[in-house]
């Protein structure tokens, strides 16, 4: 595994690099935070061991970047520091560090902490499995193209924007953002239970068929509830279940399946609702052309307070440019290149 060692001090770097090289890791040595940020953005390593104090981008600054940037995979960060007070540790963890090593450190301890990080990263295969499951569900609905990738990115942007507001910053932390990105592809998992005659029907659905189609929210929630009963502490399952169950609820209570109102609808579901509708509006369907961004935006704004949570709509308006960028990046037929 490649491990990036970042420290402004040559002595610190040399000790860490030697220990990790001798343990069999492929080590990339970097002397400043800015270079590390650029290399990590290019996907050069998934494990970072970084010092705290650096001129320019510090270790905690680098952590904050890694936790908020649009990166394709999780990067594990170990802060190596002589800042050992509880206050410093809290600050480092809040910035997004996964682990700490305090100077002076025992090389064996550093190596074992990197090994522990490797085990955590291996869990990401779970994330891949979740995405594969969602893709399987999506494969029954071939018109939707790169819908999952786009809505995944839209939900993260909305959650990031909301996390910066007074109202939501205590609710939406870096874990919430990571989980909504991870689980939003499962929003339509219940479509596996919809008969082909309804799901794949090219014409407008009859009332009866639409009633059947609407059951996908309940089917998805029930499926994930069954998994939750077995693993009740799995936060990703809880969020996946909330999204699957509530992404067709409406702020004014006119949605389905439960007719929930306002804050009765889980926040993840309210975010997903906007992301899903924006993507549907701006994508081509058999029965309609793709609307351009401005038309889709005006339709969403019009539905603020009726279909959508007004706070989520405000977040969308503040991040419009990113929605356009994501839409272009994951344009149907372009998903593999994105």
């Amino acid at each position: 595994m490649k491990v990036m060692v970042v420290d402004a001090n040559e002595i610190c770097r040399a000790v860490m690099c030697t220990a990790l090289s001798q343990a069999g890791f492929e080590v990339i040595e970097v002397g400043d935070g800015e270079t590390a940020r650029d290399l990590l953005r290019d996907g050069l390593a998934r494990m970072v061991v970084t010092g705290w104090e650096m001129s320019g981008l510090t270790g905690p600054d680098l952590c904050r970047f890694l936790r908020t940037a649009d990166l394709p995979q999780y990067i594990y960060v170990i802060l190596v520091t002589s800042h050992a007070s509880p206050h410093d540790r809290v600050a480092g963890l809040a910035a997004g560090a996964d682990d700490f090593v305090t100077k002076p450190f025992n090389p064996a301890e550093l190596i074992e902490r990197v090994h522990a990080g490797e085990r955590i990263l291996a869990l990401e295969t779970r994330d891949v499995a979740i995405f594969a499951m969602a893709k399987l569900a999506e494969s029954r609905d071939p018109e939707t193209g790169a819908h999952l990738e786009r809505t995944q990115a839209y939900t993260r942007v909305l959650a990031q924007e909301l996390s910066g507001s007074e109202k939501f910053h205590r609710i939406i932390d870096s874990e919430f953002i990571r989980l909504i990105y991870l689980t939003s592809p499962l929003h339509d998992i219940g479509k596996v239970g919809i008969p082909d005659a309804v799901l794949l029907k090219p014409d407008r659905l009859s009332d009866r068929e639409f009633a059947i189609m609407k059951t996908h929210a309940r089917i998805g929630a029930d499926t994930l509830d069954a998994a939750l009963r077995k693993y009740p502490d799995a936060k990703f399952l809880q969020m996946a279940r909330d999204i699957a169950a509530s992404h067709h609820e409406r702020w004014n209570g006119s949605g389905y399946p439960a007719g929930l109102h306002g804050h009765e609808i889980p926040l993840s579901g309210r975010i997903m609702a906007l992301a899903d509708v924006y993507d549907a509006l701006t994508s081509k369907r058999v029965y309609k052309a793709a609307f351009d961004h401005d038309i889709a935006t005006s339709m969403i704004v019009k539905e603020s307070g009726s279909h959508f949570d007004p706070d989520v709509v405000h977040a969308f308006l503040r991040r419009e440019s990113q929605f356009i960028e994501i839409r272009n990046r994951y344009a149907d037929g372009n998903a593999m290149a994105a």
Binding site: A8, N9, E10, I11, C12, A14, V15, T18, A19, Q22, G51, E53, S55, S82, K103, P104, F105, N106, P107
Partner: protein
Amino acid sequence: MPIPTPAKIGETESEGLPIDAKTLAEICVGDISLAEKLLEKFVSQIQEDLRLIDSALGIRDAAQASKISHSLRSAAAVLAVREVQRIAESLEHAAREDRLDQAACCFDQLKDAAARCLAFLPIVRRELTTCADRDAKNNKDRA
């Protein structure tokens, strides 16, 4: 002078040694040439940092004095040069809180500690050689 065996890396200050060769060898995962190289770098850094701290305190630039002290503390901590680490930390905090008179006192102590380190270097180098010879003999016996 016999080199004590520390219970853990970094717990040698009570023995009064400016630098502990055995701990240094452990930190360098037994790579004695690396240990010697790091010592050379540390000597260069400590001399340069003392000069920079002196000039920062001379113009009452507390932020710069704190920053350089932190860097020195960090390097000293990694090499388990505990006395320098401890005094550099005191200097860093004093400077950060703009207590420049106290920082100046710490600086005097730091110069003394650095001098003790430098005077101790020949002993450390000899002990590192002994460590290397002992490791080589152990390896030969095992083979």
